[in-house]
Assembly symmetry: C2
Homo-oligomer: 239 residues x 2
Amino acid sequence: MNKLNLHISVDCVVLAYDYPQLKVLLIEREAVNGIDTKLHKLKLPGHLIYEREDFDVSARRILFEHTGLENIFLRQLGVFSDPDRLNPPIDLEWAKKTIHEDLNRVVTIAYFALIQLKSVNRTPQTIWHPVDDLPELIFDHNLIIRRALRHLRDEMRSKPLCFQLLPKKFTIRQVFEVYKVILGISIDKSNFRRKLKHLTFLVPLNEKEKDVSHKPAQLYRFDKKLYGKYEKGRNEIIF
Amino acid sequence: MNKLNLHISVDCVVLAYDYPQLKVLLIEREAVNGIDTKLHKLKLPGHLIYEREDFDVSARRILFEHTGLENIFLRQLGVFSDPDRLNPPIDLEWAKKTIHEDLNRVVTIAYFALIQLKSVNRTPQTIWHPVDDLPELIFDHNLIIRRALRHLRDEMRSKPLCFQLLPKKFTIRQVFEVYKVILGISIDKSNFRRKLKHLTFLVPLNEKEKDVSHKPAQLYRFDKKLYGKYEKGRNEIIF
DNA sequence: TCAAAAGTGTTCTGCGTACACCCATGG
DNA sequence: CCATGGGTGTACGCAGAACACTTTTGA
């Protein structure tokens, strides 16, 4: 029998690009008898873990339940272990009633996932909320999201994460938009183009944009194998 | 009362540069009645956590116990949650006898610390072992160290981690050596010099190397504040 | 024929790379 | 005066920044 471990949970920050915004997947907290259901707080998708489950597997299970997706881009973000993180008290009350168990301390392992919004099964409980101006979430979930965004911004600069947020076929402009909105910086469009065109792992397709009221753009795909080679060829030391 | 949590431990990978090698801090596993003491296996410094302790605090406590150092450069590396990580069985036996408790599953939060070897209190139980050709350690500690090294190599390229491994006053050559040994690459010496000289956050001191049988080198220090400014001024997108 | 975005060209500057060379010190 | 490493100079090429310009489409 595989029972719940009452000390450890997994929470997932699932991010998606919904032009022109970056959005995060939130879940409406279920109402529980005895807790004021007026408090429609939101939370990250997550759950206590099972005794015999690797956390990466737990995270994938949770993601599948809420999005219908498998093979998601997933990274461990880190552990949130503040002994007082199960605050405010009403949130803790809710959690106890939901799982029908007493809880003392729960540490959570935060995960970080990137998906393409189009491929998701949308369900009534899931809310895709812009990452700017988030409401107050339960526990320390606001903090976890902030940490995830910082991680994303950092890693975007040196790794090809953006392609996880875009469809398989994309235009340079789409990449450009993703960079602008996530990093919050202005970039010279034509230099950005030129730069991307010289990246060997971006393969131009025999296909162009359709149904647009301007010159249709070249479509590209990201080639993981070629990226591997490209990455090996680099040995810059930058600070 | 603050009791042990039998589900979660903290392990620390403490790295130091001992010319010309990178070394990791290991602890000799204590002998326990009923376990063959011939098995002189080594382990990372670490321990089960206390119920009301933030893990960062646990890690610092452990590091202080083994090195006498406070204010260490410390980062969370990640969680190791394989349900079968407490293998081989003899290691699990040893752990149970040591803490006088039964153990089912323990997940560990791995931390990553960089220190200057000179400033450490050396004690008889602590062993500084070269990171190449490590012996077989208990549990998954070899895996944890590999992960730590990967992390170090990655982060070295974009962050000024090397200065955590060097004394406060250092020469360009020392930085050069650290990079060479950790990244395992060959670098053009004179270009490396030039590059470092242009970094605004490396401040030349009114002091030179002493007692060397060659031209004494300029000493520098790393200025954290200046680095902060330097970092803000960068907004490269690199892939 | 106009708006909108694709895509090209040009100039300047700075940085990485490769490599030759001179300088200071202890033995 | 030699070995050792510190430190400078030069020349080339590529890549980023800034910005003007041309092209292709739908409406």
